[in-house]
């Protein structure tokens, strides 16, 4: 019995350390956002203030960067989700031997360091867009290059997420619809897409987030423009201001809300699935309403 107690105490201590490690820095940072001191510090706590949030909103460059980040994120989602969907469908249908090579090509951007993705994107598209003066003037821009560079690996994430759901799809539904005279696009829009909707939504959300917080690829691809994260990196390099902590507090708050909503939706979905199952069971016995 004592050995069990010792184990529990040790493990509890380990858990405490682990989550302390995980959350400690974020908590400390959050406290500094409300401290009046010019240097972001926890102790001594000189006084409570919300000034740093005001400073943040008035930070011209960050707001510009934020706008760019949002544009890039939307662009990346618009490319990556359709590409991921198409790739998942093809992956599901191609012949066995070709599949492993295809898989390797498509997941390689996930294993390549982001720095290298950024560099290769810039080098390649500089020459491609540079072929004519028109394309150079219109397309050779940080925002567009960032969208292209980030899409290369975000599409791979989307592929994996969508693939996980697609493998459980019952093809009989598709064939039944075709036999009943539905056209191919009808089958796609009315059967496959609704079935995949949860996966498409999470691919979109994850895609947007990973685009939004990407640094390694973006810092090369963005050229002379800026995103929120590249501005942040510049600020952190030069020095530290509690305005950065204020930004972090906002992000942490948003993500906590997001996490709670996600958890709530998941539970509701599970409850709904359970209800359907129960209903089906009752129907089988002829007891459904």
């Amino acid at each position: 019995m004592t050995s069990k107690l010792v184990f529990n105490v040790t493990f509890g201590f380990y858990l405490l350390l682990f989550f302390g490690y995980l959350f400690g820095p974020l908590l400390a940072m959050s406290v500094t956002a409300f401290n009046t001191s010019n240097y972001p510090q926890v102790i001594p706590f000189e006084g409570f203030t919300l000034d740093w949030f005001v400073k943040l909103i008035n930070h011209q460059q960050m707001m510009e960067g934020l706008l760019n980040s949002i544009i890039i994120g939307i662009g990346v989602v618009c490319i990556s989700v359709p590409v991921g969907l198409a790739a998942a469908i093809i992956m599901n249908q191609i012949y066995h031997r070709a599949r492993s090579l295809f898989y390797l090509v498509t997941v390689s951007p996930l294993l390549t360091p982001g720095v290298i993705i950024g560099i290769s994107t810039v080098i390649f598209w500089k020459d491609m867009f540079g072929l004519t003066d028109f394309t150079k003037a219109v397309f050779y821009k940080g925002i567009i290059l960032s969208i292209l560079g980030q899409s290369s690996f975000v599409a791979a994430y989307c592929l994996l997420i969508i693939m996980a759901r697609l493998t459980r799809f019952d093809r009989a539904q598709e064939e039944a619809a075709l036999d009943l005279g539905a056209s191919y696009p009808q089958v796609f829009w009315h059967i496959l897409v609704p079935y995949l909707r949860p996966a498409l939504v999470s691919a979109g959300v994850l895609g947007f987030l990973s685009s939004f917080e990407n640094y390694n690829t973006t810092t090369f691809a963005i050229l002379a423009d800026k995103t929120l994260v590249t501005v942040l990196a510049g600020e952190t390099r030069q020095g530290t201001t509690p305005a950065l902590s204020a930004l972090a507090v906002i992000i942490i708050g948003l993500s906590l809300i997001g996490a709670v909503i996600y958890e709530y939706l998941k539970r509701r979905e599970e409850a709904a699935a359970l209800a359907i199952k129960e209903n089906a069971r009752l129907a089988e016995r002829g007891e459904a309403e």
Binding site: P25, V42, T112, A155, E174
Partner: protein, 336 residues
Amino acid sequence: MSSRTLVFLIPLIVIIGFWLMARYESRVAHDPTHKSYWERNGTVLGLTFIGLVAFWSLFLVTLPYLYMVVESFHPKLPPAQRGGPNDFLTIANYKSFFVNQTDGQFNDTHMYAFRYSILVSAGITILNLCICYPLAYYMAQSGTAQKVRLLLLGLIVPYWVNEILRSFAVKLILASNGLLNSSLIKLGIIGPEGKIDFLLHNTGMWVGLSYANLLIMIFPLYNAIESLDKNQIEAARDLGAPWWKIHRDVVIPHAKPGIASGCTLVFMLAAGSLAAPLLLGGPRTLWFTQVVYDFFFQSFNWPRGSAYAFILLAACIAIVLGMLKAFNVKLGEAIK
């Protein structure tokens, strides 16, 4: 034909290979119930899918990589001279990694940065494996569903905060007038003059790199250990195996693909990371990606930067493949 246009031929050859393979396969494994790609998707959708995937795998993945490799074999030239007589193929950029072009001495700075990055990344990988294994085991085998869900949520939430801000948070704690030092002074453990500069000694960088990759390690471990049948552990325990033997002989062999995949991901991400070394590294620390970064933004020597980036990529792939081979895990299992 210039070497740069040659790049476009390679994917073409691969695609023709693919097509021939598909033809061959459909003839050999002919199955009358099997419907062809076009029969399943129709022409319009079929073409759309192929078009999207082709755009992605060619223009966003393969061609830029190949183009970068070709670029690395060219000298640095002003735009006007590109494609001219001075634009020949050369291995000078690769040679410059080993030997200085100016004085013929060994290029110690860059080789040191390279070795240092690889070794620290390997260290981070091992460190994270040790930190994450107990928690992953607990979540996968002994925690209740409710608790596991809470723990998972607790793991995921910090990762919604981006990498830069997380580095910033680490910096706030470890800086010479940061939380750790001021707490130590408050507690009287060190005097006000005895401040420890954690950033100078790269402690900050280690912490930042490990912190950034915790989640990447824990999920593959968790998935792998979860698929182990609890009865096997029970059986081992009933037969009197001590806890460390259960882990050594039952859990770890079963979780090997997960361990390999976690280690691969963490190693690649750490070696290729830029933010943590840039923001948390001491002033004397030179991470290899920083060298590459400087070639792009300070000396504007893109070909040499490309060559260095390619050296990094090749070395990482070689190390990962070697590691997988040593642990007898197939690549396919590790990148699932």
